[in-house]
């Protein structure tokens, strides 16, 4: 069984479009995250939700909006896509809320290409 899943795996779209990436975890974890990995492989946190509540909101353009309908799901919606949004987006989850103690388990990633 897949622990953290993301759809779609690949997303190719044009500038100006709006797109969503979905994430689901079946680990029973309380906390979920979105990370962005750029072309140089650098990983940076974007958002974190604990029990559907936003707890981390890094300096991310407000065109990016996360939504957590329940603690097993965290979706990422991106408005007015720009070329610079091209990256791999990873969803992750961990057991604890804000402790920092537990390892995070990552989804397979969504490669977003904006043309």
């Amino acid at each position: 069984d897949t622990a953290v899943s993301q759809t779609p795996k690949y997303l190719v779209t044009q500038m100006g479009n709006d797109k969503s990436i979905k994430c689901e975890q079946n680990l029973g974890h309380d906390t979920m995250y979105w990370y962005k990995q750029d072309s140089k492989k650098f990983l940076k946190i974007m958002f974190s939700y604990n029990n559907k509540e936003l707890i981390i909101n890094e300096t991310v353009p407000n065109r990016f909006s996360p939504k957590s309908p329940d603690k097993a799901h965290l979706n990422l919606h991106i408005n007015s896509l720009e070329l610079g949004d091209s990256a791999v987006y990873f969803c992750a989850s961990s057991q604890d809320g804000t402790g920092g103690l537990n390892e995070q388990y990552f989804g397979p990633g969504t490669r977003l290409t904006v043309t």
Binding site: T31, Y33, K40, K41, F42, L43, K44, I45, S48, I55, I56, V88, F90, A92, S94, D96, G97, T98, G99, G100, L101, N102, E103, Q104, Y105, F106, G107, P108, G109, R111
Partner: protein
């Protein structure tokens, strides 16, 4: 703020050689957690190990071993008798107690040549 430095960007080794990946971290917190992740060419991120700041015991898991030294703020990772399947990018990461924001290093690209 947490910072992780992985100075070696790409390391090439011949199969069966050992390879050590250096990780140096900076934090003002007294309680913190260190992690290593592996990202193979297929792209997923695989958790390898977590170490708490108050536990300086080294760890060995098969061909993998980790050396944690608080005195030098380092958490180094060694792959013994490397295999082609070890070819991947390896990330060191750090989080502080009370803050689940993971700070990643830039990664070490390991290439194992058969």
């Amino acid at each position: 703020a947490q910072k992780v430095t992985q100075a070696q960007t790409e390391i090439s080794v011949v199969e069966k050689e050992d390879v050590t990946l250096d990780c140096v971290y900076e934090t003002r917190d007294t309680t913190y957690y260190l992690f290593w992740y592996k990202q193979p060419p297929s792209g997923e991120l695989v958790f390898l190990i977590r170490r708490n700041s108050f536990d300086e015991q080294n760890e060995i898991s098969g061909r993998y071993s980790w050396n944690f030294q608080k005195s030098t703020s380092s958490f180094n990772f060694t792959i013994t008798a490397s295999q082609v399947v070890d070819s991947a990018v390896y990330f060191c990461a750090l989080s502080a107690y009370g803050n689940n924001r993971l700070a990643f290093g830039k990664g070490n690209q390991v290439v194992v040549i058969p």
